[in-house]
C-alpha cells in the first residue's frame, strides 16, 4: 500500500502535535532563504530498485511484509517498510552488528540464564538467514504461501507466535529472532537516515524529534512552548541542504504542514 506523498504530508501535519508554533525557533533563526527545502532532494518512497548487500530477494520479501505489520503505514504516515527499514537491516547485517565483530564470540557455548543474556552461537546474520528460511518453509507447508503471501491477520499471528516462542524454530530460538527483528525495526525507523532506514525522516516526523540538534540554549527554559521543526539529518548537513551556525549545528525551521 503506497501512500501519495502529498497526502502523507497532509495527514502527518494534521496528526502532529498541537501547540503554539516554536516561536523561539523563528526568533533565533529567522526563516532565511534556506537552500532547497530539506524535503525536496529526498528519495521518493516509491524508488524502484533497492540494492542489498546481504539479504536475498526472498528475505527482503519476508522482511518487507513483517515490517509492514510491525510499524504499519497508517493515517499517521508511512511505516517501517516505506521507511526503508529492510535496507537498514541489510546494512546492519552486512556490518559489524551482523557478524558480532565487536562482541565476544569464543566458546564454550551454553544457554545460561536469562540474566546472562545473548549466548547464541549464531550471529545476527545467521539468525536472520536461518529463521526466515524456516518460517517461510513452514508457512508454505501449512498455508501454501510464504510469509509474505499470507493475509495480514495471519502474518500477525505468525509474528505473535514468534514473539512468545510458541512458533518453535528448529534453527534457533524464535524469540531471539523476533527480538532482533523488532529491535532492528525500531532502530531502522528512528535512526539517522544515513543508515538506510527512516527514509524521509518519517520516524522523526512521527514523534517530533528534530534530528541533528541545534543549539538549544535559548529554548530549554521555554517551558510549555513545543519546539516543532523540520528534522535535519546528517546527510542534509553533509550535502549542504541545511544551513548551520558557526559550530556546525543546523538552523532549524518550523515544521511544515501544521494547522497552528
Amino acid at each position: 500500500m503506497k501512500q501519495d506523498r502529498r497526502v502523507f504530508l497532509k495527514t502527518l501535519g494534521a496528526a502532529s502535535m498541537a501547540g503554539a508554533a516554536p516561536a523561539g525557533v523563528a526568533a533565533a533563526s529567522p526563516p532565511t532563504a534556506v537552500a532547497p527545502s530539506t524535503d525536496a532532494p529526498e528519495r521518493p518512497t516509491a524508488e524502484p530498485a533497492e540494492t542489498y548487500v546481504y539479504l536475498s530477494p526472498a528475505e527482503v520479501a519476508f522482511l518487507d511484509a513483517a515490517l509492514a505489520r510491525l510499524i504499519p503505514a497508517d493515517e499517521l504516515g508511512p511505516g517501517a517498510k516505506e521507511a526503508g527499514v529492510a535496507v537498514f537491516i541489510d546494512r546492519q547485517l552486512a556490518g559489524a552488528f551482523g557478524t558480532m565483530a565487536r562482541e565476544y564470540r569464543q566458546g564454550p557455548w551454553s544457554e545460561g540464564t536469562p540474566q546472562q543474556g545473548y549466548q547464541s552461537r549464531l550471529t545476527p546474520q545467521e539468525v536472520y538467514r536461518t529463521a526466515i528460511a524456516e518460517i517461510d518453509r513452514r508457512c508454505e507447508a501449512a498455508h501454501g504461501e510464504r510469509f509474505a503471501g499470507l493475509p495480514a491477520a495471519k502474518q500477525d499471528d505468525v509474528l505473535r507466535s514468534l514473539e512468545d516462542g510458541s512458533f518453535a524454530l528448529d534453527s534457533g530460538p524464535a524469540r531471539l529472532f523476533f527480538a532482533l527483528l523488532w529491535q532492528n525495526t525500531k532502530e531502522g525507523f528512528f535512526a539517522d537516515p544515513i543508515h538506510g532506514g527512516n527514509r524521509g525522516k518519517v520516524g522523526w516526523k512521527l514523534v517530533g524529534f528534530p534530528g541533528v540538534a541545534a543549539a538549544y540554549t535559548d529554548h530549554v527554559e521555554r517551558h510549555g512552548v513545543p519546539y516543532r521543526v523540520e528534522p535535519v539529518s546528517i546527510a542534509d548537513l553533509q550535502q549542504g541542504r541545511a544551513r548551520t551556525d558557526a559550530h556546525g549545528h543546523p538552523l532549524h525551521h518550523p515544521a511544515r504542514g501544521r494547522a497552528e
Partner: protein
C-alpha cells in the same frame, strides 16, 4: 616467568595503566612534579577533533552500537548471579559501558559530578552508631573507607575546579544556602560555575517536590554552564543543551573530559609519553614480590614489551584494575567461602528504578538536554532520613533528568499498549514528548557473595583468563529501591494532570539491559589490610610502589554518580605520592 622474550624498554619514573579520568589527572600532577611518566592505554587515541558535526549526532552508532565503549571481541567478563551458577561471558554490552581508548569512560560520561556525603565514607560506623549492628545484613561487608569527607573535601574542590563543575551550593562552611542541596557535606566554597538551566520536566518535578516540603536543586554538572578556564588554564566552551552527551563525545568541547581538561597540556608536556593500543597484561614484581618493577604489555603490532618504572599506577576501569591485580598475583585473592582475602572483594553496583510520568496536556521538548541536566532531591539518600524500622540501609537520589531523548531509546508508551503495530505507533507518536521519568538512583551495599575473581574457562584474545563477576541484589537493595520508588510516585501524584507508572526493581540482577556504568569495588580501600587491597592513600598494602585508583576503591556504592569521588580520590592520591611517597618511598600507613 612469562615473557622472557619481551623487549625491555628504558625505565621511567611512573607508568600509568589506563589513560582516563584518573590516569590523565595523575599524569598531569606527576609530570608537573618533574617525573617522567608513560601512559599506557589499551584502546585507541582519541581527541576532540574526532567529535565533529554532523556525524557525531548519530544515535545508532554511539548510543546503540556503543562506538566509544569496550570492544568485547578482545576482552569481556563473565557473569553469574550466584557462586553455585556457571558464569558465562557477557557477549554483548548491556548493563554497563566500560570505556576504551584515551579518555576512557570519562569521554562518554554524562558529566554528573557529585560529591558523596560524610555518611558514605563512614557507612558502617555511623550506621552502627545510630541503628546498631543489626542494621546490616549478616552477610553484609560494607565498611568505612579509611578516609573521611572532611579529609577529601579540598580534593573534591580541586576536581570541581579542573572539571568546571556547575551547581548551586547548599552548604558553604556549615552555612546553608537556599536553592542548593541542604544535605550536602560542608563545602569550602561555591562551585566554580553556576548551575545548569532547568528543563520543563525538571520544573514539573521541582514544583511537586516543593509542594511536599522537599528541597529540589540542580544536579552538579560538568557540562559547562558558561565559558570556563580551568585551574590548569584550559578553556571549555558553554554547553548548548543539544542532548547528545551520554555515550557521545562533545563537539563543543563543553563537557569536561580528559580531552578537554587535561590532555591538551599533557600531550605537550616534556615528561609525558602516551602509548595508545598498549594492552597491559601483568604488573611485574621483584623476587620478593613486594616491589613492582614495571609492567608487561603488548603493543598494537603484537610486540611484547616491558616498561620498567619506579611507581606503577593502575588507573583503569573497575574491572581492569581488579583483573590486573588478580593476573599479577598481587594481594590475597578473595575467597567467598571463608570470607578471607581481599582482591575482588566488595564488588558493588547501583540500584535503579524509576517512575514514568505521562503528561497529556504538556509537550516537554525532552530531546533538549545535557548529560548532567537534572533537578533532584537528596532527602532519601545516605542517612539523610531516619531509617529506624525501615529494614534497610542507605538510599538514593530522586529526580528528573533531561539527558536528551534520542528517539530509539525513548519510545515510551503506557502499560497495556500493544507491543507493536498501529496502536503502538500511535502511542509512541503521542507519548514520546509527553512523558518523562523520575529516576531513583540508589546506592548498593556490599555482600560476602558479590565479588570478582578470574574465570576458570573463558579467555581474552591474549589468552589470559577473563574476569568473573558474581553479583545479585540483596533484600536491603530491593527494600531501599521500593521505598524510593514509592516516594517518587508520591511526587508524581502532585504533578497536575499526570499519570504515573512505577518501574520497580524486581527479580535478579541481569546483565542485558542498560542500567548504569557505576560499577565499584574489587580493589577497595580501607584502614585494615585484612579487608582492603589498598590503604587510605590508595597504595597497595603488599606492594607499596603500586597505587590502584578509581571506583575500584569504593568499599560499597553510594547513591550518587561516582566520577566526582573518583576525581577527589585521584587528587588525594596524587598529593600523597608527591608530598609523602616521593620523599620517603615506602608504606604511607
Amino acid at each position: 616467568m612469562r615473557r622472557t622474550t619481551a623487549t625491555r624498554l628504558p625505565p621511567v619514573d611512573v607508568v600509568i595503566v589506563g589513560v582516563g579520568l584518573a590516569g590523565t589527572l595523575l599524569a598531569k600532577e606527576l609530570t608537573d612534579a618533574g617525573l617522567r611518566v608513560v601512559g599506557l592505554e589499551r584502546g585507541a587515541d582519541r581527541d576532540t577533533s574526532d567529535f565533529a558535526m554532523p556525524a557525531l549526532h548519530d544515535e545508532l552508532t554511539y548510543a546503540r552500537r556503543n562506538a566509544l565503549a569496550q570492544d568485547l571481541a578482545r576482552e569481556t567478563l563473565t557473569f553469574r548471579n550466584r557462586p553455585d551458577e556457571r558464569a558465562l561471558p557477557m557477549r554483548r554490552l548491556g548493563s554497563f559501558l566500560p570505556g576504551e581508548g584515551v579518555g576512557g569512560a570519562a569521554l562518554h560520561w554524562n558529566g554528573l559530578a557529585w560529591r558523596f556525603e560524610p555518611w558514605d565514607f563512614e557507612t558502617r560506623s555511623r550506621t552502627v552508631a545510630r541503628y546498631g549492628p543489626a542494621a546490616f545484613a549478616p552477610d553484609g561487608t560494607s565498611q568505612d573507607w579509611g578516609v573521611t569527607f572532611a579529609e577529601l573535601e579540598p580534593f573534591y574542590d580541586r576536581f570541581e575546579r579542573v572539571y568546571g563543575v556547575g551547581g548551586q551550593a547548599g552548604n558553604v562552611g556549615g552555612v546553608r544556602r537556599s536553592g542548593g542541596n541542604p544535605f550536602e557535606g560542608p563545602r569550602s566554597r561555591e562551585y566554580p560555575n553556576p548551575p545548569m538551566k532547568t528543563a520543563f520536566a525538571g520544573a514539573l518535578f521541582a514544583d511537586a517536590a516543593k509542594a511536599l516540603g522537599h528541597a529540589p536543586f540542580p544536579a552538579p554538572s560538568a557540562n559547562m554552564t558558561r565559558a570556563y578556564t580551568n585551574t590548569y588554564g584550559l578553556t571549555l566552551a558553554p554547553c548548548i543543551y543539544c542532548g547528545f552527551c551520554e555515550r557521545f563525545g562533545c563537539e563543543m568541547g563543553a563537557k569536561a573530559t580528559p580531552q578537554t581538561t587535561v590532555l591538551p597540556l599533557l600531550r605537550k608536556a616534556r615528561g609525558f609519553e602516551l602509548r595508545p593500543r598498549s594492552h597491559v597484561s601483568r604488573v611485574l614484581l621483584d623476587e620478593r614480590r613486594t616491589r613492582a618493577t614495571g609492567v608487561a604489555y603488548t603493543d598494537a603490532q603484537g610486540r611484547e614489551l616491558e616498561q620498567p618504572a619506579d611507581i606503577v599506577l593502575l588507573t583503569s576501569y573497575v574491572f581492569s584494575n581488579a583483573r590486573l591485580l588478580l593476573l599479577s598475583g598481587i594481594g590475597r585473592r578473595y575467597d567467598p567461602v571463608s570470607g578471607e582475602g581481599v582482591v575482588g572483594r566488595n564488588y558493588a553496583y547501583q540500584t535503579l528504578s524509576d517512575v514514568t510520568v505521562f503528561v497529556e496536556d504538556k509537550q516537554l521538548n525532552r530531546f533538549m538536554g545535557a548529560g548532567a541536566l537534572g533537578t533532584v532531591i537528596d532527602d532519601w539518600n545516605g542517612d539523610n532520613f531516619d531509617h529506624a524500622g525501615l529494614g534497610f540501609v542507605g538510599g538514593g537520589l530522586v529526580g528528573a533528568h533531561n539527558f536528551g531523548a534520542r528517539p530509539i531509546a525513548s519510545l515510551t508508551v503506557p502499560a497495556g499498549t500493544p507491543r507493536w503495530g498501529s496502536e503502538w505507533k500511535k502511542a509512541v507518536a503521542r507519548y514520546y514528548d509527553r512523558s518523562f521519568s523520575i529516576s531513583c538512583d540508589g546506592g548498593c551495599q556490599s555482600y560476602r557473595g558479590n565479588f570478582l575473581d578470574l574465570d576458570p574457562t573463558y579467555r581474552d584474545v591474549y589468552g589470559d583468563p577473563l574476569l568473573r563477576m558474581t553479583f545479585d541484589f540483596h533484600e536491603n537493595e530491593y527494600r531501599m529501591s521500593n521505598y524510593l520508588t514509592d516516594r517518587a510516585l508520591a511526587i508524581a501524584a502532585r504533578i497536575p494532570g499526570a499519570r504515573a507508572e512505577p518501574n520497580r526493581l524486581t527479580g535478579p540482577y541481569e546483565i542485558v539491559s542498560y542500567q548504569t556504568t557505576h560499577n565499584t569495588g574489587g580493589a577497595v580501600m580501607g584502614a585494615d589490610p585484612r579487608t582492603s587491597v589498598i590503604n587510605r592513600y590508595l597504595q597497595s598494602w603488599d606492594v607499596p610502589n603500586l597505587f590502584v585508583v578509581g571506583a575500584s576503591a569504593f568499599p560499597q556504592n553510594a547513591g550518587y554518580n561516582p566520577s566526582g569521588t573518583v576525581g577527589a580520590l585521584t587528587f588525594w592520591c596524587a598529593d600523597a605520592i608527591k608530598d609523602r611517597y616521593l620523599k620517603h618511598p615506602g608504606p604511607l600507613v
